[in-house]
Symmetry: C2
Subunit: 203 residues, 2 copies
């Protein structure tokens, strides 16, 4: 039931995304209009916005996943383990599977160059980060998040963002993937340790 329709939609969505990404890589996010993307994907502008609520989501589609990963890690956490320990384990696991959220290579660095060149993409990224903080705080605090939970959640996301950004900068200055990875690991551990201290000293 509805299989053909579903697969057509999936194909259309993918086509729009692919076409858009290619254009962004070629000329930069801001220099490409949604009209152009629509034309190149053989679709109308309205349809593009039907699949992607804002232009930024054409590029940042996958970034929403961090939130789910963080929340899931907390739900899977063993009794007695601190929340931060569970998140540290998640980071470790992602590093092992060379997940793009914790790792940098040429392809990923190229993608980031496009993002960093655009103020609106950076803004949307900050927004997604804040959503992740709120979701994480909720998970940490059970039903409703309080200040302490929000602070802790904020610190975790901050550690991640900062470590990743620093790792990327080092890669762009010529460091290898391996070196960039160890920069990431060292800095996120600094942040997580601080978060863990906060968690353990909670009232």
């Amino acid at each position: 039931m509805g299989e053909l329709r579903e697969s057509k939609k999936r194909a259309t969505r993918q086509r729009i995304s692919d076409v858009a990404t290619a254009l962004f890589y070629e000329r930069g996010f801001d220099a490409v209009t949604v009209e152009e993307i629509a034309a190149a994907a053989n679709v109308s502008k309205v349809t593009v916005f039907n699949y992607f609520a804002r232009k930024e989501d054409l590029m940042l589609d996958r970034e929403h996943e961090v939130q789910a990963l963080l929340s899931q890690a907390l739900r899977d956490k063993a009794k007695g383990q601190t929340a931060v320990a569970a998140l540290r384990a998640l980071v470790e696991q992602l590093r092992e599977q060379k997940h793009p959220f914790v790792r940098i290579d040429d392809g990923i660095a190229t993608w980031w160059r496009v993002v960093i060149a655009s103020a609106s993409l950076k803004a949307r990224l900050r927004e997604i980060g804040d959503e992740a903080v709120e979701a994480l705080a909720l998970e940490l605090a059970g039903r409703k998040a309080g200040g302490e939970a929000r602070l802790l959640a904020g610190m975790v996301v901050l550690a991640w963002r900062t470590a990743y950004a620093e790792s990327l900068r080092s890669f762009e200055r010529g460091a290898s993937t391996k070196k960039a990875d160890s920069t990431f690991a060292a800095l996120i551990e600094r942040g997580l340790a601080a978060a863990e201290a906060l968690e353990k000293s909670a009232a």
Copy 2:
């Protein structure tokens, strides 16, 4: 030389800002167009943008000051004092002078209600926060900021933001200015303590 000109400009800028603020309070940020503001201030749309680069700055003009306050506090810091201690002292000082960056009353809460109702204002606020982090990191690290400095700067700004937001939430739930203030104080101290631990354990 040029005194009349300067004072006229100041007056125009102020008039635009006042008129805009009044309209925003009345109908919400997003429901007011720049055209309307211009008309109400007896000025053209172009002139509005001549004074305020973006619509958001009509509301968030003063928020840029945090950055200057933070940097100045670090420059004034006594030898031997930790950076975080200097920032803690700044917060203390602002609280004593009942500065709006650390305090909430009815007028301030009303202003925040307008801000919080608008996605674009919140986005601009996040951007300003990031700029503050970068400036602070630079100040912390001397010439060029490294990961450690950025993490520390991020923690300080996070503590501030989180404490303020929580304080505002408590005020909106009916707490007094005094109670909101102590919520702020307690939470920012939690964050600053964590930041201080990080600073002291620096390699």
